[in-house]
Symmetry: C2
Subunit: 574 residues, 2 copies
């Protein structure tokens, strides 16, 4: 049977291995079987621990920590259904390449398949949504097994971090007694340094790209999540080639603070409405498709006269349009920089100028709109974007909030960073992910822009804000239900089907929710008031809910009015 | 591409197949990809539908429906992480043999592995925790494919219901347009009747058991969930053999209303304290081990002089003690009845009398205890048990609440039914499972006995009570944290480790929670008041939270006082 001292050494050594590969934070959900690892993580000075009762929220919180810190984050829970609650966040982490190190604890072999309490099959629990599943050995104190524990902690964490990074699952069978020996001094002080290479193209391949791109009519299309620093490189690439750049909000092109007329922030609004006399000769896509459906339809409409290049760091070749003629598997940022350094010939101004005109006409149309001057979900979302402070962090929820930003926002000079969960686009776990983001830089301005349904889904996540004093400002767009469906084909249904199945009003009084979690609560009554509240968060971050009462029909009408106006302005006949 | 009419026929036919195998209820979580199935289920007159925004709660709600109705229940959600939220309830359903029919909707093949929004690998999503995974064909309207859809709906549902019953997962790839043709008349009116056999022993094997059991010193040990009707058969078996009967609270032996001196309801308290002069000659176990740890330790201490029979309907041989000499794979109730019919010789009264004395002495000790006469978590739990009405339904939560009942409750004449989630014993999803139970018989008295941590974990589940007017009375034992750990080895830790990792106080004001969900709220100040409130629920079921403020230390002290008293009374020297 396991002795207490051996178990302590084995697990302690494992933890040291994880630290050696960069772990600095762990999120623990209480339980009995996980006791020794929980205590060792909690006592470990190099690791900051958070305790969260609800494992679903805990896992999304860890996701947010890792998104904002770009570091691997540990999750720990007990045996049984506890671990199954991690699943939604793990699916998202796998799809959006976030390195979580998931530790589940388990009954030892002799207590499996026998109906022992809180025991279930935890092997491959997360199926194809983790990079690896590892069943750890029962703790032993021999040198061989301590070396194994260290190596596994280090190796598994490193595997999670390697491109494409993603979650990894280690299952620990533990025998009683479950209390480690906390007085024992640490026996290992190993560290192993990891020097990891990155995918680079050969000089020959680089020149091939430059030759194919420079001087041609091209468009840069940037999808997926990028940091503001990466976004600046993309903008520089666009300027070097003199190409318009279309991007996903999470690519941070419009948030990074670098202004350029080539940024087509309104592409979703105008791209289907304008008369395009010439097809582009080249499209260069970085990462996944941007959220804009209109951009996707436009790309889909291009015939073989356009050469499509797909730059994909992960090598996963996730090309929804399946039209790429060249797939480039390379680290994006240094690749973009290499191209910038080699480009000698700019594309003609006439090509970029027409795009700039389209963007300007759209801006003018939006400025003329009286609805943008009063408080509604769209204007509130734009105001959040405008009022972000330098180095602020904004988390934007699915499904409507991010679309408001994508359609209607343009470049601001504030240089903040935008986050979201766009791996699988769930409305689950958003509150916790945003709180994880906030916990990394709590001294900055931290804002979550979210709808009522997503907010409700992860209301439990708010407990961690209360417990750890996380000063997140939640701007709640409350249209009492699932607003996205009013934009989709389901809206054709009559009310007897639509409201109960898609509208799903939840009738929750969010001022009570605020009270429940000791958050400040304000209902915004005007755009001016919302602006003042947001300005205050720049200087004085605090945990609060600012409710904006919305209207699902109004959102659709506003959008349709904009599109109708653009149809008139661009006068395209279809 | 799919045409709307073919898709409608195909899915409609599938739904008819499920109905033919006994589906009467479906729980739907809103989403886009699931639209056609959601609408067809909602429009189907033979199926009652519930809409629940949070898929985790939805799945536990379905679990509760199926537990209380003993019928298969359908779950439907959209693609992506939505389905992953089902996982905890599915694990529990698999472990506790509840037939859920899980329908997930998915992008079609051409939109997989391409980074399409809200798409992820849903194959074998629930790994080893469903009986089967089925990828459905893309909808087609040919006779062959309609026959396939009907057959699969019928067969899959039936598979879920076959012993050992459990969840089953069907994944539907659906193409746009996602709106079915609701005006289309139903094309199939098939029904298929299922005549299912049950496991029965041969006459020879039955006689072998009777010969080995009658006239011997035996003990019946009943674990797992059973209905009150089944429990009555077990009690009759015990009386026929003149054996004491030890049971899990969920076996409903103490709730079924049949009184017998042979029911050892206090076994957990006395079994380790009494001087047992003779080992039993026979132990007959039905199902899993009861929750009582002391009973388990006692069984473990028996040597080979005791013959152990393990009756296991599932054939899964989940024997934690691995000591069974005979495993009997048979339908439990008719087997027990066959034995009753054949037993001719009763066991000596001296054997049963000593057990009856132990039970009586323990009862006397509890009656002497002043703590039982004032309000605390233990006395409140017992009072709930006492105040259950005839045909009432009580759901009891993990981890402490069910232990209070197991240790301290005895037979009442009220004939109610006790439910719980003891497949994997999680504290997740308890509120929703109890609401599912309540939705089956909303006109009866429905009570949930739960601690604050479990209550918090599934607070979201309360929305369905508000939406569907489910009159559940929640008796909330609030000790502000994880009470179970105060009974486990973790309590040896000092406060700096214990409180944050195990105590985990959540400081939630549950009167606000009640307000949030339009529930009545009362804080019980005395046992008398609690009694009156519970009596009212017998006549007037309503959605309410009755809070009992508890104390983690007090619970432990009360238990230790009882054990110390019994040590003195039984005077066993160890």
């Amino acid at each position: 049977m396991t002795n207490q001292s051996d178990m302590t050494n084995y697990l302690q050594t494992f933890v040291e291995g994880m630290i050696s590969s960069g772990v600095e934070q762990a999120v623990i959900s209480p339980g009995s079987r996980s006791t020794p690892l929980a205590l060792l993580l909690h006592r470990q000075e190099k690791i900051e621990t958070f305790i969260e009762v609800d494992e679903r929220s805990a896992a999304f919180f860890a996701l947010g920590l890792s998104k904002a810190s770009s570091k691997p984050v540990v999750l720990l829970c007990t045996s049984g259904t506890a671990a199954a609650n991690y699943y939604p966040a793990i699916c998202e982490a796998y799809a959006s390449h976030i390195p979580l190190v998931i530790l589940t604890t388990d009954r030892p072999h002799e207590l499996r398949q026998v109906g022992a309490p809180q025991a279930m099959d935890q092997f491959y629990l997360f199926q194809n949504h983790v990079k690896e599943f590892i069943e750890m050995a029962i703790p032993e104190g021999t040198k061989t097994m301590l070396d194994y524990a260290y190596w596994q902690g280090m190796r598994a964490t490193d595997t999670a971090c390697q491109v494409p990074s993603g979650p990894i699952h280690l299952n620990f069978p533990l025998r009683e007694p479950l209390l480690p020996d906390l007085n024992q001094s640490l026996i290992t002080e190993k560290t192993t340094e990891v020097l990891a290479g990155k995918k680079q193209l050969s000089e020959e391949h680089l020149i091939k790209c430059v030759d194919a791109w420079q001087g041609r009519r091209g468009v840069l299309v940037i999808g997926g999540s990028h940091t503001p620093t990466e976004a600046e490189v993309f903008i520089k690439l666009a300027e070097t080639l003199n190409w318009p750049i279309i991007s996903d909000p999470l690519a941070n092109v419009t948030a990074c603070g670098k202004e350029s007329p080539l940024i087509m922030s309104y592409a979703d609004l105008f791209i289907q409405e304008v008369e395009m006399l010439q097809q582009p000769e080249v499209i260069v896509r970085f990462g996944m498709l941007p959220i804009s459906k209109n951009t996707m339809f436009w790309l889909q409409s291009l015939d073989e006269r356009t050469a499509i290049y797909f730059v994909d760091e992960t090598g996963e070749w996730q090309d929804q349009l399946k039209q790429a003629q060249v797939a480039i598997q390379v680290e994006e940022q240094s690749f973009a920089q290499s191209i910038i350094d080699k480009v000698a010939i700019k594309t003609l101004d006439s090509w970029s100028q027409q795009w700039i005109t389209w963007q300007e006409i759209t801006e003018q149309q939006l400025n003329e709109l009286s609805e943008m001057k009063v408080l509604n979900e769209t204007s509130a979302s734009l105001l959040v974007h405008k009022k972000m402070a330098k180095h602020g962090q904004l988390f934007v929820s699915n499904s409507n909030a991010i679309r408001f930003l994508d359609r209607f926002s343009t470049t601001e000079t504030n240089h903040y960073q935008l986050f979201g969960n766009r791996g699988i686009n769930g409305i689950d776990g958003i509150v916790s992910t945003a709180l994880g983001m906030c916990a990394i830089n709590p001294d900055r301005q931290n804002v979550l822009l979210i709808g009522d349904l997503a907010m409700y889904h992860d209301m439990n996540g708010l407990l961690v804000a209360k417990r750890y004093d996380l000063p997140l400002t939640i701007v709640l767009l409350n249209n009492n239900g699932g607003g996205i469906f009013s934009f989709l084909s389901q809206r054709q249904l009559d009310e007897t089907d639509f409201e109960p199945i898609f509208g799903t009003p939840i009738d929750i009084d969010f001022s009570l929710v605020a009270q429940l979690y000791d958050a400040k609560y304000v209902k915004a009554e005007s755009l001016e008031q919302l602006g003042t509240l947001l300005e205050t968060t720049q200087r004085q971050p605090e945990f609060q809910i600012i409710e904006v009462v919305g209207d699902r029909q109004e959102n659709v009408q506003l959008y349709e009015k904009v599109v109708a106006g653009l149809k008139e302005k661009f006068g395209k006949n279809k």
